[in-house]
Structures are given as C-alpha cells and as structure tokens.
C-alpha cells in the first residue's frame, strides 16, 4: 500500500507538478474548446495566458 501510494504520489508530481490548477485549467479549456467546436481556437491561448499569470503572480504575492 505504501509503495502504491508512493507511485501515485510520483505520478501526480510528474504529471501535475507544482501547481495543480494548471492541469485543471488545461482539462477545462480542452472541454470548452470541444463544446464550441470549429470556432473554439481562441479558448486555449486565453486560458493559458490567464492560468500562467495567476500562477506566477501568486508566487510573487506570497513572497511579500
């Protein structure tokens, strides 16, 4: 069980990394793109810009 947990932790760290909101935002953005269809190309660039800004600005705020 401990090994299984360690493997799960490793996979989480490997795929999701330091900020889980990035993975969540990517999954949600892909879902919205699929819902919009042909015209949904703008969703991913906007979500990437927003989540990247949010993630780094939060680190800057935490240091103050």
């Amino acid at each position: 069980m401990t090994r299984l947990r360690a493997l799960a932790q490793f996979l989480w760290d490997f795929v999701v990394g330091d900020d889980w909101r990035i993975a969540l935002a990517v999954a949600v953005a892909l879902g919205i793109t699929a819902l919009i269809g042909h015209a949904g190309w703008f969703v991913l660039p906007l979500v990437v810009a927003a989540v990247l800004t949010l993630s780094v600005v939060e680190v800057a705020r935490a240091r103050r």
Binding site: A27, T33, A34, I36, W41, L52
Partner: protein, 248 residues
C-alpha cells in the same frame, strides 16, 4: 525539414540537453567521489529502462486515432510546457533561485562522501542507485516529450535522433571538462522549451478538440511568438514589481 519538424527537433534537443546536464552533474559527483563503475552501471540500467518504456509506449501512442492523440498529446505538452515555462519565468524574474550545477555538484559530493564505506570488490549500491535515479528521472520527462511530440508528427525517429545528439553532446562536453557544465544557460533553454511545448500543446490540443485554426498550420507562426512575448512580458512585470517591492 518542415517548420513543425524543426520545432520538434529543437524542442527535444533543448529539453534533452537540459536534463542530460542535470543527470551528468549527479553521475560526476558519485562517480568521482565513490565508484565510476557503479555509477556507469546505474546509468546503463536507467537507459535500458527508458528504452523499454519508449519501446512499449511508442507503438501504443501511434496506434491511437489522430484526433484523440492530439487531445492527449496537446494536454500533456501543455501541462509539461506550462510547468517548464512557469519555473523559467519565476527564475528569470528572481522569484526562484537559478539552478546552479556547481552547487548541486558540491551538495551531491558531500552526500556521497558521507554515505559510508565504498565496497572494493562489489558494486557500490549508493553510487548505483543515485546514478540510476538521477538518469532515470531526468530522462523520463524527455522520453515523454520526445514520444508525444514524435508520435503526433509521425516522426518518433527524428525525436529520438535529436535526443541522442543532445545526450552525446553533453556527455562529450562532460568528459572533456571532467566537471559539471555550470556555464550552460539552463534557464534560457528551459524558457525556450516551455514556450515551444506550450505553443504546440495549444495548437494540437485545440485541433484535437475540434477547433479550426485560422491559417491552419501557419497559425503556429503567430502562436509561438505570442506565447514567447507574453512570457517575457510576465518576466518584465514581475521584475518591476519586485524592484518596487524592494524599494518600498
């Protein structure tokens, strides 16, 4: 070579170089302090394990239908790319310490010296494990990047060649210097890799999810510069905020 193939080759080469530099530091530290034979055995076993993963996942990935593959690959490239880019932005703006190969080497060397006696007749378990772990973990991400990029472009061979050239260049440089490659601009390379992975992830993820890019493949010509400029803008903004914060 098309622009997309060039993007694939450059991204895999840079990603692999950065990870190889970090693995080299670990192997040099345990090898020079304890046992070269054990360290090289660890690297060899790690390379075999990475080759086995590549052989198992490569054909499986290429068997997935193209649109599904593009969504999966797009999502993975985006998540990996944004992680690389996030770290590179934080390091460039001074919010996170730069990765220092000389310091990492010194730290690994101290740990290796304190790890007990070195067996003369048999394999040194410490050197073997540290070299294995370092090479395997640093290599795993490169394997994923090379496989996902390569499978989507139906050019795993090109990705493998780019990765192999990067490893050979780093190993030759390490062998010539017999020291960690502290002068390699790791953060700049990570920044470029992050921009490329994120851009290709946006493009392929969008296509796989059913979006039609205006200008089709040519849209990468604006997606990559836009992501690069946006990231540089974040670095500049964070630096300014840091300076104002220090001055206040």
């Amino acid at each position: 070579m098309s622009a997309t193939q060039l993007g694939l080759a450059v991204s895999v080469f840079l990603a692999c170089s950065v990870e190889a530099v970090e693995a080299l530091t670990i192997v040099l530290a345990v090898g020079s302090t304890r046992s070269w034979r054990s360290a090289f055995t660890g690297v060899g076993v790690a390379l075999l394990a990475l080759a086995a993963i590549t052989a198992a996942l490569g054909p499986a990935l290429t068997a997935i239908p193209l649109n599904t593959l593009r969504v999966v690959v797009g999502a993975l490239l985006l998540i990996f790319g944004l992680q690389w880019l996030r770290k590179a932005i934080l390091r460039s703006s001074g919010l996170k310490a730069l990765h220092d190969e000389a310091a990492a080497f010194a730290e690994e060397t101290v740990a290796a010296r304190e790890a007990g006696e070195i067996p003369r007749e048999r394999l040194d378990a410490y050197s073997f494990l540290i070299a294995f772990k370092g090479s395997f973990l640093e290599g795993l991400e490169v394997v994923f990047i090379a496989l996902t990029f390569g499978a989507n472009q139906h050019d795993v061979g090109l990705a493998a060649i780019a990765a192999a050239i990067a490893v050979i260049v780093v190993v030759l440089a390490g062998a010539a210097l017999r020291a960690p490659l502290a002068r390699v601009p790791e953060n700049t390379m990570k920044f470029v890799v992050g921009v490329m992975l994120t851009s290709f992830g946006i493009f392929w993820g969008g296509e796989g999810a059913g979006a039609h890019w205006p200008g089709a493949d040519a849209s990468l010509l604006w997606v990559i510069p836009v992501i690069a400029l946006f990231s540089l803008g974040l670095v500049s903004g964070l630096r300014r905020t840091e300076r104002l914060g220090v001055a206040a």
